[in-house]
């Protein structure tokens, strides 16, 4: 800061005011609440905190959240690669529609998304009779939670990959083909290594969203403790039961995952930045 001040155009008081405002906002809306969560979580001591974390329903909620994430994120990576490749490399009818549809989960409220799946797979839904005839339960069961999680995370990977692919053009892939590589060798040895940072970035954002998703999952879950409860839903249930300390204790898991995501994201940005060509 001090070394740059010589070329700054704004008077000193403007800079101080802007920085105070920025830090003030951050304190009031982020740091204070985080501190409050930690304070509440530890209000009955460390053993109560640990007890809340290791309780059976919490563990089952954590398991389900991780299960949904572990399925939704790889699905998202595969879909993102396919969609980004198709959009940037081929001309086909409906391309613009596809680009728009990829963003749909961002535009639609997650609650509406959840209701869509209830309408589709629920007992009175479009496919409901067929599913119940075959003894398949989707809504108010684990499959719906996975589907809803996959739905809300769809845009992340594709949106990171499309600009990366557009910036690169198809020449390296064409070069690989002229050198005798098969399409699979070209993808694995040329395309994928070039895309690993945007891909990792998109996957991390998708993971953060998958872990924290509340709205869509809340609608399709049915809130069956120990069965269809994810971590965010479990926090809400505990809170509504007036178990504040336990609710905040479980919330610290989500905060921890969020911080880990931020660190991973910064590491990737740092790494990707460092690998840029020395000029």
């Amino acid at each position: 800061m001090s070394t740059r001040s010589a070329v700054s155009l704004e008077p000193r008081w403007v800079r101080v005011l802007l920085m105070t405002l920025a830090f003030g906002f951050l304190s009031i809306f982020l740091v204070l609440p985080l501190g409050a969560v930690l304070h509440a979580a530890l209000s009955k001591g460390i053993s109560a905190y640990l007890a809340a974390l290791t309780e059976a329903d919490t563990r089952s909620a954590l398991k389900l959240t991780l299960f949904a994430t572990v399925i939704a994120v790889p699905l998202n990576v595969v879909f993102g690669l396919a969609a980004a490749w198709a959009i940037t490399r081929f001309q086909f009818p409906g391309k613009r529609v596809l680009v728009t549809i990829i963003d749909l989960p961002f535009a639609v409220s997650p609650v509406i998304a959840g209701m869509l799946f209830v309408l589709l797979f629920g007992a009175h839904g479009l496919l409901g009779p067929f599913l119940s005839d075959h003894g398949i339960k989707i809504v108010f069961a684990v499959p719906a939670i996975v589907i809803a999680t996959a739905f809300v995370t769809i845009p992340f990977v594709a949106r990171e990959l499309i600009p990366a692919l557009e910036a690169r053009g198809p020449e390296q892939e064409l070069a690989a083909l002229t050198l005798g590589a098969t399409p699979w060798q070209t993808f694995r040895r040329v395309t994928l290594p070039n895309l690993r940072w945007p891909l990792a970035y998109g996957a991390i954002l998708a993971t953060a969203r998958a872990v924290g998703e509340f709205g869509a999952v809340s609608v399709v879950s049915g809130h069956i403790r120990g069965e269809t409860n994810t971590v965010p839903l479990h926090v809400e249930i505990l809170y509504n039961d007036f178990q504040y300390q336990a609710a905040f204790a479980v919330a610290t898991i989500l905060i921890g995952i969020a911080l880990a995501t931020l660190i991973a994201k910064s590491l990737i940005e740092w790494h990707a930045g460092r690998r840029r060509p020395p000029r």
Partner: protein, 351 residues
């Protein structure tokens, strides 16, 4: 192995990039595809490589019809305009790529990579990444990578386009020497007529998706098949006029013309065929026109003298320095410009 392109057509949407093209690329020679941008030269190169599929027509390598052969089975070395090196691989890994995808043994790969690094004079850069190299070095890596799998044919798209003038001149003569060593049938695309004339054994001049002329540099320069070729090869003055039975008139200039037809005509006069003389020497010369000197530019052993004439506007004469001194040419001087020889084209019909 010669390459024969037979009646190739290719359109991008409504826009015809190649229009019923047929040409033979002679075996073991270095051929230039020369033309302005949009003439179809890069599309033709990519069609030969198999990167672009023609709408109609055939491509043959020797006796093999390769029209439907996929790119990776054509065994064609292709050097892209911006090199398309693999950024995440070292120079050595880039060169090894074409060998390792064909599952060559690590020992063979190592030997071949060393040999090629030496050939392109980049041995000490083997473990660098492409982004750490200069443009000329990248160009040579791209060439080594294309040569590694021992291709039947080498294709280069604007190989010197992105480089500065000095590096370009060096690489040109280097490419020529490399070709003389390897005798690999090679085709390169360029829009620079000097480059084509200097480096190539054969020149294919293209415009608007058609081939204007194919031949040795001397043929193309001395016997241009069309007004376009003459114009594109550059350094020519164009005069507008009319052709009659056995002469043609361009303003007050009269030039001999022995063509079959009469009609509106254009005369193409090379800079070196426009001879500047003192005013007095021009009297009675019907093939000369009065001009005023505007500017003199020295380039190498000759000078370009820009003159204006009342009837023909700006004309450029190219004369040796000693003549320049002998005439005492300076700005504003009045001279006559004598047309020593001209090629006359009547309404789209070559003379």
């Amino acid at each position: 192995m010669d390459v024969r392109v037979e009646h190739i057509s290719k359109a991008f949407g409504e826009y015809p990039a190649l229009d019923d093209i047929s040409v033979t690329i002679p075996s073991g020679q270095l051929t230039a595809l020369l033309g302005p941008s949009g003439s179809g030269k890069t599309t033709l190169l990519r069609t030969i490589a198999g990167i672009e599929a023609p709408d109609r027509g055939r491509v043959r390598f020797g006796e093999d019809d390769v029209t439907n052969l996929p790119v990776r089975e054509r065994r064609v070395g292709f050097v892209f305009q911006d090199y398309a090196l693999f950024d995440h691989m070292t120079v050595a890994e880039n060169i090894a790529f074409g060998l390792s995808v064909r599952r060559a043994s690590p020992k063979d790969i190592d030997t071949r990579v060393r040999e090629l690094l030496a050939r392109v004079q980049l041995s000490q850069f083997a473990s660098r990444y492409p982004k750490q190299l200069s443009g000329g070095q990248r160009q040579r890596v791209a060439l080594a990578r294309a040569l590694a799998p021992d291709p039947r044919l080498l294709l280069l798209d604007e190989p010197f386009g992105a480089l500065d003038a000095r590096v370009r001149a060096e690489l040109r003569s280097w490419l020529r020497r490399l070709h003389d060593d390897l005798h690999l049938t090679s085709v390169f695309v360029t829009h620079d007529q000097e480059e084509a004339l200097e480096v190539a054994d054969q020149i294919v001049v293209m415009s608007n998706g058609k081939i204007e002329q194919a031949g040795a540099p001397d043929d193309v320069v001395d016997r241009p098949a069309s007004a376009f070729v003459m114009d594109f090869l550059g350094g020519v003055n164009v005069l507008q006029g009319h052709a009659h039975g056995d002469y043609a008139v361009f303003g007050d200039l009269v030039l001999p013309y022995a063509g079959p037809t009469a009609g509106p005509a254009r005369a193409y006069v090379r800079g070196e065929d426009l001879v500047l003389r003192a005013l007095a020497a021009g009297s009675g010369d019907v093939s000369a026109v009065a001009v005023t000197v505007e500017r003199v530019r020295r380039r190498g052993i000759t000078a370009r003298v820009l003159v204006t004439s009342a009837e023909h506007g700006e004309l450029t004469a190219e004369i040796p320095h000693r003549e320049l001194a002998a005439l005492g040419v300076e700005r504003g001087m009045r001279l006559v410009a004598h047309v020593r020889s001209a090629r006359i084209f009547v309404e789209g019909q070559p003379s």
